[in-house]
């Protein structure tokens, strides 16, 4: 795992989470590089949102692949 990015200089806001979840996070971060539950939540949410953004980006489809292959054949890179 990479260390979470420092965000101290960014403006912050408060988001509420259930107390039971906060307790779980406190236990989870013991002995890790995360200095606080907030740092952990910021890191995890950042990762989740990044994955979601990647999924919503149009991916390399079968149609794209066929178009690329056709071009590679015309250039002599595939039979």
């Amino acid at each position: 795992m990479t260390m979470p990015e420092k965000t101290e200089n960014e403006p912050s806001t408060t988001i509420s989470i259930p107390m039971t979840l906060a307790k779980k996070i406190e236990k989870r971060i013991k002995g890790t590089p995360f200095s606080s539950p907030s740092a952990y939540v910021t890191y995890v949410l950042g990762e989740v949102l990044s994955d979601v953004e990647d999924e919503t980006k149009e991916s390399f489809s079968k149609e794209d692949e066929e178009r690329v292959k056709a071009r590679l054949r015309s250039l002599g890179y595939m039979d």
Binding site: E58, S59, R71, L75, Y77
Partner: protein
């Protein structure tokens, strides 16, 4: 193509291999400067492997520096390419082939170039006029993104991204980056620079 029937392979290297456990690859989309990079490496004293399957022509007057005449992609898709035969030296595998890269240890120089220039050059080489140019552009853009994203997720690959257009503009800086990525004591930056021929930069945007 089985190794026994492969075209005559060539090896430029008088000084021995680079880090022997590592496979070194020059990649990127076709017509993005991959041949120029192979020529630069060869001229700079770094070991490169290629065969005479595709001869130099008007599209690449200084040679393609490819294996199997560029059709190495088919062998990668069939998982029949013997990477162990090419450890410690550079080979050229264009972008699509990297989707089939087996686990190993790799250092990859990935060439990037203005995509419209790439497509212009492809059309000139294939002697076609693409009536679906925008769709083709998006497909190659997505291929580039997928290849780089897949490589980023792997822990057996180190990648250096180099831009063809920037190499032409500022060869000294880019070659210095290249040498730091490889083996500074093995790079002859001056000789690498002499390969760069701006007259061959024919598809400009």
């Amino acid at each position: 193509m089985p190794e026994t029937t492969a075209k005559k392979s060539q090896e430029n290297n008088p000084q021995g291999k680079l880090d022997p456990p590592v496979n070194y690859i020059v990649s990127g989309l076709e017509r993005s400067g991959t041949s120029m990079m192979m020529q630069m490496l060869a001229n700079g004293g770094l070991p490169v492997a290629f065969d005479d399957g595709r001869k130099p022509d008007e599209h690449n007057p200084k040679g393609y520096y490819e294996l199997d005449g560029g059709k190495i992609i088919t062998r990668l898709m069939q998982n029949s390419f013997r990477f162990e035969d090419y450890k410690g030296r550079f080979i050229k595998i264009t972008a699509f082939g990297l989707l089939y890269l087996p686990p190993g240890s790799y250092k990859i120089i990935y060439m990037q170039r203005n995509l419209d220039e790439v497509l212009d050059s492809m059309e000139t080489m294939a002697q076609i006029t693409d009536t679906q140019r925008e769709e083709t552009k998006q497909s190659f853009q997505k291929l580039n993104e997928k290849v780089l994203k897949d490589l980023q997720k792997r822990n057996d690959v180190k990648v250096l991204l180099l831009n063809y257009n920037e190499i032409l503009q500022d060869p000294a800086t880019l070659i210095a980056m290249l040498c730091r990525f490889l083996a500074p004591n093995r790079c002859d930056a001056q000789k690498m620079t002499t390969v760069i021929d701006k007259h061959l930069y024919r598809q400009r945007r």
